[in-house]
Amino acid sequence: MTAPGNVAGVQKLTGLFRKQIFIPIAALLVLIIFNLIADPSFFEITYAQNSAGEPVLSGYLITILDNASELAILAIGMTLVTAASGGQDISVGAAIAISGSVVLRVLCGDNPRPEEMQASILTAFLISCLVSMLFGAFNGTLVAYFNIQPMIATLILYTAGRSIAAWINNNRLPIISDPAFGYFGTFMPGIPVPTPIFIAIICMIITALVLKFTTLGLYTQAVGINPNSAKLNGINPSLIKFITYVIMGLCVAVAGFIKVTRFSTINYSVVALDIEMDAILAVALGGNALSGGKFSMASSILGAYVIQFLTTTLFKFNVSSSALPAYKAVVVIVLVVLSAPTVREKAGKVWRSIRSAKAGKEAA
């Protein structure tokens, strides 16, 4: 027999295990411990000079936080889309190409190598937001009003997106020479922390505020779990689904903006390639059901950082970028298998039987 206090402790512990955010936290801990053992210098942060000759922070941790920005922002939209419509948007990579292309088109006008920008960066960003939200609305219409499964509906934009992006700039590759444009994707003058980190944080704060001061969270979950009942309680399920896709469009615009400002140019066929897969993975790693319903935004965002942590770790160990997916796949499978309810249940049974055997021995 176990003492009552012990029982309560165990229950608390299993309660933590059952919490959704446990999965990405555990994954992150495993990665951190692995790096600590393999090479503690992974966590060093130093001052280095950037290309403009200014001192900036440098180190693997900074790289992770910087590079995960787009993914974290996309994870926000992907979580909402998944929760409300029970499916995923696979067009985000292609849509990023479009939004980036729009930014460049507005700034460059007809000249792919402009001496000075044709419009303010803010204007370009806002127009790209508008265009991305329109494409989001297109996906949303197919999903919400034509009842087409999300993956299939977004397959259309996935197929055509990069072509549309190229068409927007007449298949030319504009380059912006004004350094001010690059501030958003690299460093602001005088600030040693990469700007994308700030952009991601701003997005997260806005998301948190939206979730706190509107009923978006409750509505998306209700619609995702039982659209019939949501409708009979005065919610318009189609509208909610539609809205989540428009929000996804907004996230895409921000992520696309970061992408183009990193290099001040764009390559339509490779920009943000396969990022939709990582974004979906972030949602799944966060323990959210891909079939929709209940979601935890914090878990998804943490999931995005776990993925980037993994990628950076693999790069550090000299895994070539083309072979990287194989290793990533193994890690993903291990994580997903360990967090699968069936496996956890079985593990729990084994654990209990070991404990009871022990207890039996002690009693004897």
């Binding site: 509107t214 039982n226 949501a230 409708k231």
Partner: protein
């Protein structure tokens, strides 16, 4: 094992996490008998059946089957079928994308090859002999729910089974279909099949059953021959207390109401309720819609609530014309609607009890006015206490509650919005007698407070106890309105059936 029994279950136990769903339950089924399995919701009937059919694995106890040496172990529905146990569940457990014939034969034919011609011929014969209005080649999803249920029964009957389990198969059937089913059951009984019959309808139990086993709180209360157990005793055994409340609930209010008209519809119609109808309800009145299943009573109230697309008609509330085309419009005008199918249209299963309770109020407060966590918890606690909802906490997912408690959560959801007019469509279906009475009392109490209520139920005596006025529906049209002295069982029946002929 006794000589004449086909199935014996001894000392069956089953727990889910820490809840003991079954404790040391015995059950015996004899050859050629119809055996009712009775108990309130959460008594363990469904669990016992799912253990028997291999959907759940038992924690303890033994199962014996005729023709098998020693205890048998049934690990899946597939194995149960092979052992001669066939089951019809309350929910349709068929595949809507397959044909009627396939649904009757899939999973139980031995060969690797599907013989369509033979299968269709066999199915057509079966459908005809049972009088089921469906074609063998038809896709199941295009049939009505009642027909689908009949197909499920046809499948089970055709399996040459020794044990047939009917788990509340009648809740979606109308009277003539129930009669057909009973003829079939008696026929099978004569052939020596043992039938386990689970139902909430007492009339049906006393019509066909030979024996009754009563469960309560996961424990066996006893097994009785039907002639030794009068109704009142059965009910008290199920509830575990003597109960005289059954006929005594009127008094807290008569539900007649005042002269003040709350809601008035003139030639209202929707895509589902095609023929236009007129309807009025007064302040403090409890009225009812009655009629057979499919008579259009649910469609009418759905049209009032704006749940289906409204196609015509005028609506006045408090004497002013209003426009209701969406549930939200109705809610804004103080109408609440508890839907007929709790699982499909009512609860939001994965959300917590708290979230389910505040949902409707939240929608009324609007997109930019979320109810704070503390306030929501206060509301939830208040109604959990008021309606005696049995739940571990406010954060428990509502899907893990029993049927009756889920229904109370939805009731709480609408009471929280403080509606002036509440529509309850089959609020007592599939829930135990104790909760039924609580809900009936609550309806009369609400009417006493000056709220108007529309109450729909398949059980006429329940309507008689609560309603002061009844609209009778037949084939999508209102065919009569009864009140006062006209409210008798006979009068209602004859109006439903179409006059005294």
């Amino acid at each position: 094992m006794q000589k004449d029994s086909v199935l014996e279950m001894r000392g069956i136990s089953k727990s889910f996490y820490s809840v003991k769903a079954l404790q040391n339950v015995d059950f015996t089924l004899r050859e050629g008998e119809i055996h009712a399995l009775m108990g309130e919701n959460g008594a363990g009937k469904s669990t016992l059946i799912k253990v028997l059919t291999g959907v759940y694995q038992k924690d303890g106890g033994e199962v014996f089957l005729k023709g098998h040496e020693g205890p048998v172990s049934i690990k899946s529905p597939e194995e149960a079928q092979k052992a001669g146990i066939s089951t019809v569940y309350q929910e349709i457990t068929l595949c809507p994308n397959l044909t009627v014939a396939e649904n009757m034969y899939i999973g139980r034919t031995s060969g690797v090859i599907t013989k369509w011609r033979e299968m269709n011929a066999g199915a057509a014969k079966m459908l005809e002999s049972l009088g089921i209005p469906a074609k063998a080649e038809q896709q199941l999803g295009t049939c009505s729910i009642a027909v689908q249920q009949m197909v499920a029964i046809a499948r089970a009957v055709d399996m040459e089974c020794r044990v047939l389990i009917l788990d509340e198969p009648t809740s979606s059937l109308d009277e003539s279909e129930v009669a057909k089913l009973f003829r079939l059951m008696l026929d099978l009984k004569a052939r020596g099949v043992g039938i386990i019959f689970v139902t909430h309808f007492l009339d049906q139990v006393y019509e066909v059953c030979d024996r009754i086993t009563v469960l309560r709180d996961g424990k066996l209360v006893g097994e009785y021959a039907i002639e030794n157990l009068p109704r009142v005793e059965l009910v008290s055994k199920m509830l575990g207390k003597e109960l005289n409340d059954l006929s005594e609930i009127k008094g807290s209010g008569d539900g007649v109401g005042s002269d003040e008209v709350i809601y008035e519809a003139d030639r209202l119609s929707s895509v589902a309720a095609k023929s236009p109808f007129d309807f009025t309800i007064h302040k403090g009145e409890v009225n009812g819609f009655t009629g057979l299943l499919g008579s259009g009573r649910s469609e009418c109230v759905r049209a009032i609530f704006g749940a289906d697309k409204v196609t015509g008609g005028k609506v006045m509330m408090d004497g002013k014309p209003v426009h209701i085309s969406h549930p939200r419009d109705a809610m804004k005008h103080g109408i609440g609607y508890l839907p007929e199918d709790r699982k499909r249209d009512g609860i939001i299963g994965d959300l917590s009890v708290r979230e389910n309770i505040i949902l409707a109020l939240q929608v009324l407060e609007g997109f930019f006015g979320p109810i704070s966590r503390a306030k929501a918890e206060k509301f939830a606690d208040e109604y959990i206490k008021l309606l005696e909802i049995k739940t571990a906490s406010t954060e428990t997912p509502v899907k893990s509650l029993s049927g009756g408690n889920q229904q109370k959560v939805i009731l709480a959801r609408w009471l929280l919005t403080n509606p002036q007019y509440l529509i309850l469509d089959e609020p007592t279906r599939g829930i135990d007698i104790g909760t039924k009475i609580e809900i009936q009392k609550l309806v009369l109490k609400l009417a006493g407070e000056g709220k108007s209520v529309t109450f729909i139920s398949s059980e006429i005596d329940e309507m008689l106890r609560t309603c002061s006025r009844l609209v009778v529906m037949r084939d999508g049209k209102a065919v009569g309105e009864l009140k006062g002295d006209e409210l008798t069982q006979n009068k209602i029946m004859s109006t439903i059936a179409g006059g005294e002929k």
